[in-house]
Assembly symmetry: C2
Homo-oligomer: 469 residues x 2
C-alpha cells in the first residue's frame, strides 16, 4: 500500500471581482479563490485533492496554514489513513501546539478541513466510489467512529447518533435509487447579487424559474429602500409558489436585524440568512423571536460543531446551512448533520464560490441516504459559476443536482486551470497585471484631463468624490 509522499499547496485565485459576481452587503469585491492541497502518494495513479474557499486576499495565509499540517501527514501509510478517517481527523485537530491557533476555528481549522477532505478524496478513489456513496455504504458504527464527540455529548451522544443512523439503515437502498433517478433539489442565488442592475436581476429571476428553480435567494442589507424595491420586482417577476429567501451576510446588529426584517415582512420571505454575526447564538435566538414568522438561518460561517450545537440548543434557527470547506471536513459535517437530525432542523447547504457545489452535494446526498432520510424542505444552493475549472463538475438537470458517479470528492481542479490561476504568477494574473498597468497609464492621462475640467467648472475634487459616498 502506498504512503503519502508530499502535501503540496497552491494559491489559486479567479479574478471574479472584475464583474461583481458574488457581491453582497459585506463582500463587495470578492476574488473567488482556493487554497488548494494535493496529497501526493507513492502510487502515481493516486492523489487526493482538497481546498479551502476564500475570497482573495489572505489565500496565501490559508495556504501557509495547510502547509503547516504537512508534518502530521507526510509519511503516513495511505491504508492506515483511509481505514481510520476519524483518527486521522482527530490527529490534526488535537495537535497541542497548532490547536492554540484556533482551537477549531478560523484559518487553522479550515486548513484541517481541506486536508481531511483530501483524505476522503483518497479514500473514495481507492474505494472506486464517490464520497456520498462511500458514506452511504458504511455501517452506522463506522459513521459514529468518524466523529469527535468532544464538547457534543450534552446535545448528542454516540448512542443517540448510532440510533439515528440505525433507524435509517434498512431503507438506504430506496433512497440511493431515488437519488440516482431524480437527483437532489437545488436552489439558486445567481440572480440575487447586489452588484446587478434591476434589469439583469429580473431577467435572471425569470430564467431561473424557467430552468425549474422553486427557491431563489436575494442579497439584502445595504439599503432598506433598495431591498424593498428589488424584492418587489422579484416577487412580481415570479409566480407566488416560488420561494424567495434573503441573505444579509452578517450585516446587522440584533436590533437592526429585527427592524429591517420586519420592514420586509410583506414579501413572504422563505428565510433570512446570516442576519448578524455568525458567532452570535443568542443574537440569532433574539432575532428569531423578534421577526416571527420569518424563518432564521445561518451556518456558512459557523466555525465548528460546538457553535452549531448551541444554535440548535438555543432554538436560534429554523434551518441551517452547512459549508463543506469552513469546518473540519467531512467528519465534522457528519456531526453537524447528525445534530440537525436530532433537533429536527432541515439543512440547506451553502454552495457557490469555487467548488463548494462540487463538495457539498456529497454531504447532502449522504445525509439523505444515511441520516435525515428526507429531501423535503431541503435544497442545495447552486451558483452556475467556475464549474468549468473542475475535472468532474456538478451536473444540474431541471434544478436538481444529479449524483456524482466518478470516484472521489469532485474536488480536483483541472491542472491547466490551477496553473493558469496561480497567484500572482499564473498566466491569468500576469495578463491582468499587464492590462492594469496599461489602464493605469491611460487613467493618469484621463485624470489629468478630468482635473482640467474640474478646475474650469470650479468644482473641487472633494465635491466630486462625494458623489460616490
Amino acid at each position: 500500500m502506498p504512503t503519502i509522499l508530499a502535501l503540496d499547496t497552491f494559491d489559486v485565485r479567479f479574478p471574479t471581482s472584475r464583474d461583481l459576481d458574488g457581491s453582497d452587503a459585506m463582500n463587495p469585491d470578492p476574488d473567488y479563490s482556493a487554497a488548494y492541497v494535493r496529497l501526493v502518494t507513492s502510487d502515481p495513479q493516486l492523489t487526493g485533492h482538497g481546498f479551502v474557499f476564500t475570497i482573495g486576499r489572505g489565500n496565501d495565509v490559508q495556504t501557509a496554514a495547510i502547509a503547516a499540517l504537512s508534518y502530521l501527514v507526510v509519511g503516513r501509510d495511505v491504508q492506515d489513513v483511509v481505514d481510520d478517517l476519524g483518527g486521522f481527523s482527530r490527529s490534526l485537530t488535537s495537535d497541542s501546539q497548532l490547536r492554540w491557533l484556533g482551537p477549531e476555528k478560523g484559518v487553522i481549522h479550515m486548513a484541517i478541513g481541506a486536508v481531511v477532505n483530501a483524505a476522503w478524496d483518497l479514500a473514495a478513489r481507492i474505494a472506486g466510489k464517490p464520497v456520498w456513496r462511500l458514506i452511504s455504504d458504511m455501517t452506522p458504527q463506522q459513521i459514529v467512529d468518524l466523529i469527535d464527540f468532544r464538547y457534543l455529548t450534552d446535545a448528542l451522544t454516540p448512542a443517540e447518533a448510532l440510533e439515528i443512523l440505525q433507524r435509517a439503515e434498512p431503507t438506504r437502498q430506496t433512497r440511493i435509487d431515488d437519488l440516482l433517478e431524480r437527483g437532489y433539489p437545488a436552489y439558486t442565488t445567481s440572480p440575487g447579487w447586489l452588484g446587478y442592475s434591476d434589469e439583469k436581476m429580473v431577467g435572471l429571476l425569470q430564467q431561473a424559474v424557467e430552468d425549474g428553480y422553486r427557491i431563489i435567494k436575494m442579497k439584502v442589507g445595504l439599503h432598506l429602500e433598495d431591498d424593498r424595491r428589488r424584492l418587489g420586482l422579484a416577487r412580481a417577476a415570479v409566480d407566488p409558489g416560488v420561494r424567495i429567501a434573503v441573505d444579509a451576510n452578517q450585516r446587522w446588529g440584533v436590533d437592526e436585524a429585527i427592524e429591517w426584517m420586519n420592514a420586509l415582512g410583506q414579501f413572504d420571505i422563505a428565510w433570512i440568512e446570516e442576519p448578524t454575526s455568525p458567532d452570535d447564538v443568542l443574537g440569532h435566538a433574539a432575532i428569531r423571536a423578534g421577526i416571527t414568522p420569518i424563518p432564521v438561518s445561518t451556518g456558512e460561517h459557523t466555525q465548528n460543531r460546538v457553535v452549531f450545537k448551541q444554535l440548535l440548543q438555543a432554538g436560534s434557527v429554523d434551518l441551517i446551512q452547512i459549508d463543506a470547506a469552513r469546518v473540519g471536513g467531512v467528519n465534522e459535517n457528519l456531526a453537524i448533520l447528525l445534530l440537525a437530525a436530532k433537533f429536527g432542523v432541515p439543512v440547506y447547504p451553502h454552495a457557490g464560490g469555487v467548488g463548494l457545489c462540487e463538495l457539498v452535494q456529497h454531504l447532502a446526498m449522504a445525509d439523505y441516504v444515511a441520516i435525515s432520510t428526507s429531501m423535503d424542505d431541503r435544497a442545495i444552493e447552486f451558483v452556475d459559476h467556475l464549474h468549468e475549472h473542475f475535472v468532474t463538475p456538478t451536473v444540474i438537470r431541471r434544478a436538481r443536482y444529479l449524483p456524482p458517479t466518478d470516484p472521489g470528492f469532485s474536488a480536483e481542479i483541472k491542472p491547466a486551470s490551477r496553473v493558469d490561476h496561480l497567484f500572482p504568477d499564473g498566466a491569468v494574473w500576469r495578463e491582468l497585471a499587464t492590462l492594469d498597468a496599461a489602464a493605469a497609464a491611460g487613467d493618469t492621462a484621463g485624470d489629468a484631463a478630468a482635473e482640467d475640467d474640474r478646475v474650469r467648472s470650479g468644482r473641487s475634487i472633494e465635491q466630486e468624490s462625494g458623489v460616490h459616498s
Copy 2:
C-alpha cells in the same frame, strides 16, 4: 509627521518544552513563541512593537497572517493612525476579503490584534506615556470612539459605555495615585503546572505565599485522583486564607466538567477556569448551574467581543479572563472591559506565556482608572518566566504589578533575544538542533543495545512500547 515605512515580522520561539514549564491538560509541550511585528516609521527613533503569543508550531502561519495586513498599514501617516485608533482598527477588521478568514476570530483576528497593539505602542511612545496612562488620560468620548459597537448594541450601546466612563471620570486621579503607590494585585500560576513533581509543586506554593500571593492557580483535568492528591497537598501547604483556583484548559465536555468539579468541591475552589470549549456559551452556563457554588470562568481563548457578550448575557461566568493577544487588540479589549463593567463581572486577566504579563497589565490598570474603578476581587495572572527578554519587563513587588512608567506598551523584545530565538535559524535553535542531532546519534547506539537486550530476554518491540500507552 512620519509615515509607516514597513511592517516587519519575526517568527520568535523559546524552547520551553524542554523543561515542562507551562504544561497543562491540553498543552503538554509548549514552545512559548511570539509572532512578532514591528511597525517601522520614517522617524528612526519611532518604532511600534506588537506580537501574537503562540505555543510553537504554527507561529509561522501566524506571522504570515500579520504580514498579510501589510498592505493596509504601510504608507499610512503615523499621526492619522494614532489620532484615530478606532478607525485604524476597523480598517483592519473590515477588509472585505481578509474578513472571510475569520470573521474576527482565530489566526487572522490575532494578527489584527498584534498590529493594532503595535499602533498603540506607537501612539504611547509619541505621547511619552505608557499605554495604561494614555487611555487613562483620554476623555470618555475618545474611549467610546475607539470601540466597534457592531454586534454589541443589544448588550451595550455607545451611550451606556459613555455613562460608565463618565461616572468614573471625576475620580480618575485618585486611582492613578493609588496605582502608582500600591500597584495592582497579581496572582500566580507558577506552582501549578501538571508537569511538576509534588515536591516541586509544594515548594513553589510555599514560596509563592512567602512572596505575598493570596491567589494561586493549579492545573487540573488529566486524572481526577491526581487532582485530588495535588489539591490536598496544596491546601495543606498554604494557609486557609489563600485562594486556590483551578484551570482545566478546555479538557472536558459539559457533563464531565460538572461531575469532575463536584468531586473537587471540598477544596474550596476560587474558580474553575476553562472547564470546556471556549466556544460553548451555553455549556458554561450549564456547568455553572451544575457546580454551584464553585465560580466559573473563561476568556483566554474567547475569540472576540461577540462571544464575551454572550457569556455575560447568558450568565455563563462569575468572572472572566481577558487576553491581550487573542482578540483584536486594545480596542476590542476595551469593549470587553466595558461589557464586564456593565454586567458587574470582575476581570482576572490571563497572562504568562511570552510577554502577556507585559501587555495585559496596561489593560487592567486602565480598567481600574477609567472603567471598573475597582481592584477588589480582581488580580492579574503572573508567571515569572521569559521577562528577561523584554526591554521593559513587568515589575512585581510583594505580589503586585507596579505600573509601567516607560512610554509605550512594554511589548518590545530585546533585539538580541529576538535574533537569537528566530525560528529555525537563530543561534538558540541552531544549537538545539546540533545537540538533538548528537543525542539522536547517541540514542541510535542506545537503541541498538536495548534491542539486543530485548532479543536476549525474548520480549518484542511491540510489548515494550505497550509500557508507554
